[in-house]
């Protein structure tokens, strides 16, 4: 029985060795794949990059990208290949286009609205503060109250 266990252990040990294989045999190609894949969105699990995702489609797309790298295609060509099939959605940095203007300009518009509102409120507040006038009667009363406070402490 012990022998059987030992054999199982030995055999299974060799099976583990295959898991963390590099993506390609060529380190330069692997670096390019990584560099590209972090810019691309996985379509199945939408908040992951192509590099992070373990979805079967992401694996297939990495395989396609790897093959295109092997064919010496430029980054631009590879990205165009994917955009032609899946649209701008695959890009984590969407291009500036008529359909994406809200996306690009929206935050700045919101910030401008916020800044204007802030300036207007501050101005109005400073005006109301300045307008407050203290009569002599009130002034005397304040002095009196302050003096009382000093006595108590």
């Amino acid at each position: 029985m012990k022998w059987v266990m030992l054999i199982i252990l030995c055999v299974s040990g060799s099976a583990w060795a295959g898991e963390a294989r590099p993506l390609t045999d060529d380190p330069a190609a692997e670096a390019r794949l990584k560099h590209l894949a972090v810019e691309l969105r996985c379509l199945v699990c939408q908040n992951q990059t192509l590099a992070d995702s373990n979805a079967p489609l992401a694996e297939d797309l990495r395989r396609e990208v790897r093959e295109m790298i092997a064919k010496n295609m430029s980054d631009q060509e590879i990205i165009e290949f994917l955009v032609a099939r899946y649209g701008d959605f695959v890009l984590y940095r969407p291009p500036l286009k008529a359909t994406t203007t809200v996306l690009w300009v929206g935050p700045f518009v919101l910030m401008a609205i916020g800044a204007t509102a802030l300036v207007m409120t501050l101005r109005r507040r400073s005006r109301t503060v300045a307008e407050v006038s203290v009569t002599d009667e009130e002034h005397r009363r304040v002095e009196q109250l302050l003096a009382e406070g000093e006595k108590r402490s």
């Binding site: 379509l43 199945v44 489609l57 396609e64 032609a84 099939r85 899946y86």
Partner: protein
């Protein structure tokens, strides 16, 4: 009263946007391929592996291309709808068995029936990538010139078939 007007109106606007957001499906990504020529393919057929199913054979026809797999859950929902559509004879449905095991695909068709005129096999998912498939089932309506005119992401429901697919097919047939 005036003091609450501004926060209230901002609240209403935000709720409006969130409400619209709830009705959108983030899984439905508009395909850039609608209105463009369908990618060409030549794949072995599922039943007769010696034969080739090629997109070139379908020029001049209006046809449906349905990506499916025996492992896919949405395909189960969709299958009776496809069977009914095939029986009605209003449009020819072609199938693409996407990243599937052959024996399991055959068992699936034996159980549920075969709505497809011809089935191609896309074992590694390359035809799928060329069509921009990111989740099965997906169905494409392709016109006589071989241009994709409609893409259905996810299962077809009787409602979608009645209101979108069949009217479009009729229009394309008369073009």
């Amino acid at each position: 009263m005036n003091r609450f007007l501004l926060p209230l109106s901002i609240f209403v606007v935000v709720v409006g946007f969130l409400g619209i957001g709830l009705t959108l499906n983030p899984r439905e990504i508009p395909s850039p391929l609608v209105g463009k020529a369908a990618p060409e393919f030549s794949q072995p057929q599922l039943y007769d592996q010696e034969k080739i199913f090629s997109s070139n054979d379908l020029k001049g026809k209006v046809w449906l291309l349905n990506f499916w797999a025996s492992w896919c859950n949405g395909c189960k929902t969709e299958h009776p709808v496809l069977m009914d559509l095939a029986k009605s004879g209003q449009v020819t449905i072609y199938g693409m068995d996407y990243k599937d095991q052959r024996d399991e695909a055959l068992t699936w068709l034996q159980r549920g029936g075969n709505p497809y005129s011809v089935i191609g096999v896309d074992e590694v998912g390359r035809v799928g990538i060329n069509f921009g498939v990111y989740g099965v089932p997906e169905t494409y309506v392709i016109d006589k010139q071989g241009v994709i005119r409609y893409k259905q992401i996810g299962p077809l429901y009787p409602d979608t078939v009645e209101k979108k697919i069949l009217p479009l097919v009729k229009q394309l047939e008369s073009e």
